[in-house]
Symmetry: C2
Subunit: 230 residues, 2 copies
């Protein structure tokens, strides 16, 4: 697992933070800021300054000592590093509530992603429009992927149908999957999967919530106050 081919450059934990920095920088740019220090960026991103500097150093980003980082330059560097120099095409499998919400979500386009298709097995849903797209039948998946050169598939179907959805995506040549179904997908090694299980997120919150002030009477254990960027 992990990588292997080329040099390991950026640690996974850092990769997971780069998009957050990117987002904060876009905000700074919108406010007309031209430079930013690691300390300020850290504040915005909710991490500490040393981490910001280390993360950025992984891909040879060059700030200016005594000054900070150039906001536009750093945005470009991050875009390059994150592969956002072109738009990534995505297809959503499942046009239920979640799939529809994702398709209609405007935020993707601005951040480098374009939803080019939504499909579903249910004939009831085929033909509807969501987020400016017509819901296609699942059989059209191959055509959509080929036509738009889709790189990322989003699985937004019930758990019982998730493995099949993933299999179809893989068969069509998609090698990156974002899975919202509460199931571990079985895919070939060369396919990467990221899971977002909403109930898992809630359960993690509940775990910490359940550990507050328990037992220990009269104490005021300051809880957690952590922030997790899944």
């Amino acid at each position: 697992m992990t990588d292997s081919g080329a040099r390991r450059a950026v640690p996974d934990a850092a990769v997971a933070r780069l998009p957050v920095y990117h987002r904060c920088l876009l905000e700074l740019e919108a406010r007309g800021r031209d430079t930013v220090s690691s300390e300020q960026l850290a504040e915005l991103a909710g991490v500490n300054a040393a981490k910001v500097r280390k993360d950025l150093s992984h891909f040879g980003s060059y700030g200016t000592r005594g000054v900070g980082y150039s906001v536009p330059q750093l945005i470009l560097d991050l875009r390059r590093e994150l592969g956002l120099t072109h738009n990534w095409r995505c297809v959503i499998v499942g046009a239920g509530n979640l799939g529809s919400a994702l398709a209609a979500f405007g935020g993707f386009r601005e951040r480098g992603f374009e939803v080019v298709g939504v499909v579903d097995v249910d004939p009831e849903r085929v033909g509807r429009r969501v987020g400016g797209l017509r819901v296609g039948h699942e059989d059209e998946l191959g055509g959509i992927v080929a036509e738009h050169d889709v790189a990322i598939g989003v699985v937004a179907v019930p758990p019982s149908a998730a493995q099949e959805a993933a299999d179809r995506l893989v068969a069509c040549g998609v090698r990156s999957i974002l899975n919202f179904a509460p199931t571990v997908l079985d895919v070939p090694d060369e396919v990467q999967v990221r899971n977002v299980d909403l109930a898992v997120e809630l359960q993690i919150l509940a775990f910490h919530e359940g550990r507050r002030s328990d037992a220990v009477v009269g104490s005021v254990p300051p809880g957690v106050g952590e922030s997790a960027s899944a």
Copy 2:
């Protein structure tokens, strides 16, 4: 950061996996399985066996050597550990596409969570029904939280309104927030926040996707094949 009060028991990384084990065990139980080995559970959860054993050992779970773990017993242990012995009440702020999808999502109830309210500022949306609930006005938030003893707030509003939504939740006494807005929320230390930024997930996929086979001609770098349970 992190904890402080009581004894640190279970490492964060392990906590994040417990819900996944719990989910897999429910599946096993539904299939009538009575015992499971660490190896089998690991397979289902997409991790390795040593990790499963170590994770479970953190809260003194007792399996039987030579046999494995009792499925029903382990489910109970996990439920207790995750604080799922009672249902957690949640309230959703924001009745847009995502908020509505979350409210309508049936999967929560089965996993220990109950959505008891949905609110929005937009008068246009107030009064609509989503997932069996009437959308309330944001002013009703305090009443809903108090009445149902809500523990978890879900922020599903546009980024520009997210901080205000969080402030309101905190003011109402909610101390756990699941934030879907692409913004870092500023909250008091005793409030825990988990962020789910869908575009970030896509960007992480894109990062790895962009690193495939690059440059190195003719090589067949086996990519990533990782699985992240955010």
